[in-house]
Symmetry: C2
Subunit: 227 residues, 2 copies
């Protein structure tokens, strides 16, 4: 039966360990700078050293882990500098992708964006604050992804995904410690509405600016949390 939660039926051990460890690093189970001891990892993820190294190599490529030959692996450090760099790079990249999406997006793209925006705006109808945040986050991501898809470039979308992955640890910091006020939510909703408007009227300059500002706005908030 293919009714398991993991769509790919027969992932190998390295892939399984990669996903678990990545999630654990993003969620802060392993803290920045922590030594990733092979003996400990082998036990935690119930796996041999070979596949474990394979998983670690991939995380090094993702920049979530650092390696020094003969001295093993560590969780990559986090810093205010990196936070700023990731978010700023992401904002610039996403603004550029938005410009291309406006230029290249067809009617299907418009429809999808509109649909995701609608779903996102309706999130406040769910009440449990904990559940709300999770659903809001997932729909928020879907909304932005829908916009980005319009650019039509697989490579640019890959770069975007890479930065998004690297931002996750910082973003997680924010999501776990923030309680959304109704007014903050309302402000976000307006930002998104303005963005949809700029996209559909094909106002490139405005859309780029809104996107850039939307994406760098969490920087000062996360900076606070890191001090």
């Amino acid at each position: 039966m293919s009714s398991d939660s993991t769509p790919q039926s027969k992932a190998n051990q390295a892939t399984i360990a990669y996903k678990l460890l990545k999630q654990d690093i993003i969620n802060g189970v392993h803290q920045p700078g922590d030594k990733l001891l092979m003996s400990h990892l082998k036990e935690s993820y119930d796996i041999g050293a070979g596949p474990m190294r394979e998983a670690l190599s991939q995380l090094v490529a993702d920049r979530l882990v650092t390696a020094i030959s003969q001295r093993g692996f560590r969780v990559a450090e986090m810093s205010l500098e990196e936070l700023t760099d990731i978010y700023d790079a992401r904002a610039h990249l996403e603004a550029m992708i938005t410009e291309l999406a406006i230029e290249r997006g067809d009617e299907d793209w418009e429809a999808t964006v509109l649909g995701e925006a609608h779903k996102l705006a309706r999130v406040n109808e769910i009440n449990t604050p904990d559940e709300m945040l999770e659903v809001w986050d997932s729909r928020h991501k879907a909304f932005h992804t829908a916009i980005a898809q319009g650019c039509g470039s697989a490579k640019l979308l890959e770069l975007r995904a890479s930065l998004q992955d690297q931002a996750e640890r910082y973003r997680h910091l924010w999501l776990k410690k923030t309680v959304f006020s109704q007014s903050a939510l309302e402000e976000k909703r307006r930002e998104h509405a303005d963005m949809v408007d700029a996209l559909l009227t094909r106002d490139t300059v405005k859309a780029k600016q809104l996107m850039y500002e939307h994406l760098i706005s969490p920087i000062p908030i996360i900076k606070q949390l890191m001090l």
Copy 2:
């Protein structure tokens, strides 16, 4: 002394194999779509299966190799679509980075760019056509890297490097089959001079446009070679 040919004194087997295999893929020793048989790889690179898998995983992250669980590894396919996507994405990204470099670059940046441009322009003094092409390529890369450094974002430079890596196979196709005419070389020289001029006068719009056009210009030529 740090002047040995192998900069990192004690790289592990996986790292060594990664570099060798990557180079072999870029240089077409292993062709797109080729099966990378473990038994063959082990022999070629004189290494065990564990470290070899580690190297392959990293190349999967680089998009130079594809993997299917339980069915091994293959050299990633090449296609006209991917060629266009990589080069277009690269051109857009580099144009954006150029804009930031103009905005953020200081006097040291200007000086470095000017210096690299000078070295590049003087390449034609070398005569062996074979040697010439190699030196020209390396200085050309150095010139563009010098420009990009001005953006000051480590993350954007990483994204740039990633696309450049992926473009290498296509670029290699071009470099190996092209003999530079004196006029073609002269045209490039003029393009670079114009670019330096736009950069130093901080003419953002012009610099972006020149950069974009400079980077997409090889597309039709490489397309020809791929047919």
